[in-house]
């Protein structure tokens, strides 16, 4: 193209490319101005998109109209190595001074490296600090225990009357609201409708269960009032509270663990022990 006067179509293409680059520059300036004036996410995004789209159009037209597309061929040598090269390379490793010929030493080296590799894995154990509980223990233990009072999400202790009929109240062990496996919920049901007694017992229809789905551990926060069922929003496991929180639909396979409760001398609800089973998702050594 150089040295010749450009053809009509080349001139037209050059004009389009120049316009596209000008639009791109305008977009860039627009972005800077929008940023300076705090013009908001949308305009910033639009300006940047225009800037890059202008660039893209200009470059695309350039590549289509002003340079050849296709029409070239490159030879492909294939990947069969020349036999002579192959033999010479192999000879390098077979030479008498080559370390690969000393099998005994290689075995010893391999042993040392293996030992080093295994030893290097040991510090990984520090990822779980040594002063913490071993995982199985910590999954089984929760902050609940005899005498631990039930509080709401603001930390206020609850009386039996604080749990109205037909709603679920999230309850926590006093002092441990943020612990992952502790959340539970209290509901008031009609004991005459129980098909199966709740695992943790009940106080005149007041029952407390673990809030964590036994499938993958999401809180079962959807309560279907009349049916006495709770539903997990993550994978739609459904538990029938009237039948001992038995799973009735979805992927969960175990009932929700119950929490045994009583009314303490101060009139507040308190646990008489831990959950009837480890809360949340299943694991290998779950009893």
């Amino acid at each position: 193209m150089s040295g010749q006067t450009p053809s009509k179509s080349e001139r037209a293409a050059s004009r389009r490319i120049a316009v596209a680059f000008l639009v791109s520059a305008a977009g860039a300036v627009g972005f800077a101005v929008t940023y300076g004036l705090n013009g908001g996410t949308q305009w910033e995004g639009v300006c940047l998109a225009v800037a890059f789209a202008g660039l893209a159009v200009g470059l695309a037209v350039w590549s289509r109209r002003l340079v050849p597309v296709g029409g070239y061929v490159e030879e492909h040598e294939g990947f069969v190595p020349p036999p002579a090269e192959q033999a010479m390379t192999a000879a390098v490793f077979r030479a008498p001074e080559s370390p690969t010929r000393r099998w005994g030493l290689l075995a010893a080296l391999g042993f040392a490296l293996t030992a080093l590799g295994v030893a290097a894995l040991f510090p990984l154990r520090s990822l779980l600090p040594w002063d913490r509980q071993r995982p199985t223990r910590s999954l089984k233990d929760t902050p609940w225990g005899p005498g631990i009072r039930l509080v709401d999400d603001q930390g206020r202790p609850l009386r039996p009357d604080d749990v109205p009929a037909d709603t679920m109240v999230a309850v926590f062990p006093e002092g441990s609201i943020d612990v992952g496996d502790a959340p539970a919920f209290a509901v008031r049901l009609n004991p005459e409708r129980f098909i199966r007694q709740p695992a943790g017992g009940h106080l005149g229809g007041l029952v407390v269960w673990s809030l964590l789905c036994t499938h993958a551990g999401c809180p079962v926060r959807l309560y279907l009032k009349g049916a006495g069922r709770v539903l997990c929003p993550c994978h739609q496991s459904s538990f029938d509270l009237l039948a001992g929180a038995r799973p009735i639909a979805g992927p969960a396979a175990r009932p929700l663990p119950g929490l045994p409760i009583e009314v303490g001398p101060d009139g507040f609800l308190r646990a008489t022990g831990d959950f009837t089973a480890p809360p949340g998702a299943g694991f290998w050594s779950r009893p």
Binding site: Q4, Y35, T41, G45, L48, V50, A51, L55, A56, V57, L59, A60, W62, S63, V67, P68, V69, G71, Y72, V73, E74, E75, H76, G78, F79, L124, R125, L128, P129, R132, Q133, P135, S138, L139, A170, D178, V179, G180, P183, H215, A216, G217, C218, P219, V220, L222, C232, P233, H235, Q236, S237, S238, G250, P251, A253, A281, G282, F283, W284, S285
Partner: protein, 587 residues
């Protein structure tokens, strides 16, 4: 082409010009499907650029922090530093939300481009020898992309990400024997731990990206070393690559693609809201959001968790919980299948030859059937991850949908796989050029069982048959030599991608690229780029010359005949050398 003193100085010290010349001449095939991997690459660059910006404002800590800023509903609320800084960078850092949303969109596009690229490689058989190694690297990068997508999604410590993290923790805990230890080591204790956000952060911004950068370099290095594969076509053989040169044509085109990717990502980041964590609220162990859907590329796992029935069992008193199968086994099997596919196929077809020419998908109906079936399986899982939303939209009970999906996930892949197999076979056996042209006769032909073909898999490669009219033309261009390939009638002209230093080298490279073509013409100068008028003039001139030659020849022959009749014995005029030589020796 080395311009400027700086380039010369570099060349003097590093001897770059030989490498540069070859690199700039590298051939890229012109088919659009070869650019899917580039979209992934450019999304990754966008991810790094936007991600680095985000790290300046994100505080990867679970420590309590009081958010004070312009998002009024959370103003004064105590949350984790991670959550507070995410809300802050979205609402109170100028351009912060744009960059954050662009980052998130880029992550979605990154994985999508990888999956499309992988599908292209799969359906065209580009994973066959010698490219198995790059397939393995590519599948590893897909796994890393999924991992980094998930860790990025989990960092803001909002309610939705906390639920996702909790589910993943449960899935890991479901692994027999080691699961609880793995989860506890990763999190530094029981979920939710104070260590998890910093650990996820360093995994997301350093560990995985560093491995990805290394693997991308390796991927591209192997690509350059092995050269591109290409679709079959005129002038294309197992011994060449046809397309555009890297410089200038492909450079401009790929930069245009880069700019397009950025334009689309910034448009999405600016205009389409994604992951509004301020609406979800901070993570709290007793809260959950409804609906709860993950990003699309994790949705297949979520869908599998929803669909898998509540089956769990005990081995010697130890529990294997239900999430183990859809979470760990399915994910593991998916990647094992991906890793092993090139070797499974090689084992089945006994095809051990290297391939530079790609398959048209239709020519391998079994591969198409398996691929379409597998894709359908994962698509059903992705859709199943939205079953609660679908149920709400369609006003049907969610458990009816669940039952439907449980059937569909098993039946639909078989149906679509068999259909794809039959259609591919119909296309392969019939004359239809595309899906739209398929006739009923083609379909019937496709449905018939395959005729017993003599097994030709172990046959040595058939050399390219010489087609009449195919020729190689060489010509000197100043100090250097060029060559080009022309097929019969000269409709197709393919020029070699770079000048070579000698005629011998030109012949050698031409023979490498076209081993079957024996006609080599020296010299075959290319016509100068011509204007329409000049072409017409030349054509007219050529016609005139040919006409006058014809007239002269006729006259000559008549004269000769007359002379012969006259009994004169004269030697015939010397034949005009056409300069055609078999071996291309210099004449």
């Amino acid at each position: 082409m080395i311009m400027g003193p700086l380039a010369r100085a570099l060349d003097d010290r590093l001897r770059l010009s030989p490498i540069t010349r070859r690199a700039l001449a590298k051939i890229f095939p012109d088919h659009w499907s070869f650019m899917l991997g580039e979209i992934a690459l450019y999304s990754f660059i966008a991810l790094i650029l936007t991600g680095v910006y985000l790290t300046f404002f994100f505080d990867a800590s679970s420590a309590d922090r009081v958010y004070q800023g312009s998002y009024a509903p959370l103003d004064g609320a105590t949350t984790s530093a991670a959550y507070a800084s995410t809300v802050r960078l979205s609402w109170d850092v100028r351009a912060g939300l744009l960059i954050r949303q662009t980052h998130h969109w880029a992550a979605l596009a990154f994985v999508a481009a990888i999956v499309l690229h992988l599908s292209r490689i799969y359906f065209t058989g580009a994973f066959r020898k010698p490219r198995e190694l790059n397939w393995l690297i590519g599948v590893t990068m897909l796994a890393l992309a999924l991992a980094n997508g998930f860790t990025g999604y989990s960092m803001p410590d909002d309610l939705l990400s906390g639920l996702g993290l909790r589910i993943i923790t449960s899935v890991v805990e479901s692994i027999p024997l080691v699961g609880t230890w793995l989860a506890a080591l990763a999190l530094g204790g029981e979920f939710p731990s104070d260590e998890m956000i910093p650990r996820i952060f360093i995994t997301h911004v350093l560990l995985v990206p560093a491995i990805l950068v290394a693997l991308i370099s390796l991927h591209l290095g192997i690509l350059v070393r092995q050269k591109h594969s290409q679709f079959p076509g005129p002038g294309r053989t197992e011994h060449n690559v046809v397309g555009s040169r890297f410089w200038p044509g492909y450079t401009l085109r790929t930069l245009a693609l880069f700019a397009w990717v950025l334009a689309v990502l910034f448009a999405l980041g600016g205009l389409v809201q994604i992951n509004p964590v301020w609406l979800y609220g901070p993570f709290a162990p007793a809260e959950s959001s409804s609906p709860a859907q993950p990003d699309w590329y994790v949705a297949w796992g979520d869908g599998a968790l929803r669909l898998f029935p509540p089956w769990e069992f005990r081995i010697g008193g130890y529990l294997v919980p239900a999430p183990f199968f859809p979470g760990v086994v399915l994910g593991g099997l998916s990647f094992v299948a991906l890793y092993l596919w090139p070797f499974i196929e090689r084992w089945c077809t006994r095809d051990r030859r290297p391939h530079q020419l790609l398959d048209r998908p239709r020519n391998h109906p079994v591969r198409v059937g398996i691929g379409v079936g597998a894709l359908t399986f994962y698509v059903v899982l992705v859709v199943a991850a939205g079953d609660d939303i679908l149920a709400r939209l369609l006003r049907v009970p969610v458990y009816d949908l669940l039952a439907l999906f449980r059937v569909l996930v098993l039946v639909l892949p078989i149906v679509t796989g068999v259909l794809a197999f039959l259609i591919a076979r119909a296309l392969c056996r019939g004359e239809a050029a595309s899906l739209g042209e398929l006739t009923r006769a083609d379909l019937r032909r496709g449905a018939r069982p395959a005729p017993r073909r003599p097994t030709g898999e172990d046959e040595p490669e058939v050399p390219v048959r010489h087609r009449p009219g195919e020729r190689i033309e060489l010509w000197p261009q100043g100090e250097v030599w060029r060559w080009r390939y022309r097929n019969e009638a000269g409709q197709l002209t393919l020029t070699n991608n770079r000048a070579v230093t000698s005629e011998e080298e030109a012949v050698e490279t031409a023979r490498l690229a076209y081993p079957g073509v024996d006609r080599v013409v020296v010299p075959g100068p290319p016509p100068p780029p011509a204007r329409a008028l000049r072409v017409a003039l030349r054509r007219w001139g050529r016609a005139t010359a040919a006409g006058s030659l014809l007239v002269a020849a006729l006259l000559g022959r008549r004269r000769e005949r007359r002379r012969r009749r006259d009994g004169e014995d004269e030697p015939p005029p010397p034949e005009q050398a056409d300069a055609i030589s078999g071996g291309g020796d210099p004449t």
